[in-house]
């Protein structure tokens, strides 16, 4: 009963979050000073047509109307029509979801494998901290776009590697801290002093103790990966959601951008719900 009520509470919170994100994003877009302007206005061939389209848009896009339309559309699985392509946004998003999903999944798996390996090595040896911290700090100091460009120039590494390195560098710092704290527990110190094998301790004692923090950190990894998605997909020419969002931003296609942003918020909120309390990782 307690589990059910806690599940219902987190579901209600997730729904409230998505609703807030929808209201906030719509408000942001509608109130932006350039909402009713289009790059095609500058072209004499399209000027009058575009101005007519924008006047029509202006007439039907007061904030409450927009919000109602968005909410109604999303409830029916309709995210509006792309200004740039004139096709339903859903048709643009659907084929790209699988591409982005596969990229995210592979990057997260590789990133976590790298981060866990490095964090285990750094947390169990007393003087190896700097050896692992230095590359992680260096990786975090390189903008994702620059890292992707350097990989392209070097002709080695792809989108998965760039995103995995970024995820690994960010998560390594948290994982290292979590594991260091865990290893300092008196019962684990005692067990190590008695010569119990690390692998066994890790599986039986450490992993269950830090499972909740790891789950919350997984949610944070998703946010990191999503933030890196746009530069990586744009520079490596991956036809995913990040590239679609960038294309929409460059062409002021706000319905597409709004839909992709809401999808991202939905993904992060769902992962946060699965991963546990939102502030869990901050304890690390």
């Amino acid at each position: 009963m307690k589990t059910l009520s806690s599940l219902l509470r987190s579901l209600a919170r997730a729904l409230a979050l998505v609703l807030l994100v929808m209201i906030g994003s719509t408000l942001l877009v509608r109130r932006a000073p350039g909402y009713l302007s289009d790059a095609r206005e500058m072209d004499a061939r399209y000027g009058s047509t575009v101005r007519a389209e924008l006047a029509h848009e202006s007439a039907r896009s007061s904030l409450p109307q927009m919000l109602a339309r968005e909410a109604k559309g999303w409830l029916h699985g309709d995210a509006g029509v792309s200004r740039q392509f004139g096709v339903p946004v859903r048709e643009l998003i659907q084929p790209r979801l699988a591409v982005t999903g596969a990229l995210l999944l592979r990057s997260l798996l590789l990133g976590w494998a790298l981060a866990i390996t490095a964090a285990l090595a750094a947390s169990t040896r007393r003087r190896s901290g700097v050896v692992w911290q230095a590359p992680a700090s260096l990786l975090l100091a390189i903008p994702t776009a620059a890292m992707a460009t350097l990989c392209l120039l070097a002709g080695s590494g792809g989108p998965v590697l760039v995103m995995a390195l970024l995820i690994a560098a960010r998560d390594f710092k948290f994982l290292c801290r979590i594991l260091r704290q865990a290893w300092l527990e008196p019962h684990l110190l005692q067990a190590r002093a008695q010569g119990i094998r690390m692998r066994r301790l890790l599986a039986v004692q450490v992993a269950p103790a830090i499972a909740a923090q790891l789950a919350a950190l997984a949610g944070l990894s998703l946010v990191t990966a999503l933030s890196a998605l746009v530069p990586v997909e744009v520079l490596f020419d991956v036809p995913g959601l990040g590239q679609l969002a960038w294309n929409a931003a460059m062409n002021r296609d706000l319905p597409v951008l709004l839909a992709v942003t809401l999808l991202m918020a939905l993904a992060v909120t769902s992962s946060g719900m699965l991963g546990g309390q939102p502030g869990e990782w901050e304890r690390a």
Partner: protein, 262 residues
Amino acid sequence: MRIRLLPVWLLAALTLGALAMVARPGASYAYQDREHTLAGASLQHPAGTDELGRDRLVRVSAALLLSLAGALAASVLTTGAAASIGTLAAFAPRGVAWLTMLVCDAFLSLPWLFLLMMVRSALPLQASPAHSAAITFLVLAALGWPACARAVYRGGVGLKRAGWILQARASGLRGRQLIRQVVPNLVPLLLPQFLICVPAFVIAEANLGALGLGIGEPLPSWGGMLLELDNSALLFRTEWVYFPLALLILVLLLLEAIPVEA
């Protein structure tokens, strides 16, 4: 000089050097020397020129100053907003605190870059470079506060339950008087948040600029200069194209290395 403060001194030296470069008589980040486009290092142009013949060292110096000034200003704004919101939520009734933290979570559930792209793409077409720079950093400030506000809120709740605060409230201390006592105790929490925001804003501006959505030309920015790396033809002509990236990485490493403990 204490070794812990070395990054701060190095950053100060870099900033002074950049200031000297930009303030040098005749130095202009927009001046185009069409006789020497994509030139290598020389006495006239110590780090060469870009494809329009603009002095790369002056442009990198101006980008460093602009980026640091913008990121610092945005961090001050975001930390100030987070301090106000976090403290008020901590001392407000539970319903208000819950709602404030829900708004924080809504912001935190959106990847920054998507929000930044959405806001930047909705700007008027005729925004000037100075406006685009101001708007970019203002947007960063507007989006950066929730994580910091959450930390302040937690610190504030801890303070609210502290014995001396209970004693003060029982003795009749209210409103402004109470806040005057609480805020200095939150400074050790705010300083690290401020220092975390600065490199985050610098890197966000660079990423946004590298996607063509940052500060407009001819104003120099890290992101704008990283765009040069996309042109492989330039890379074969001069290795100085990598200079802005190398300096950006150095600045970010120094910013990350600043000790965050108050």
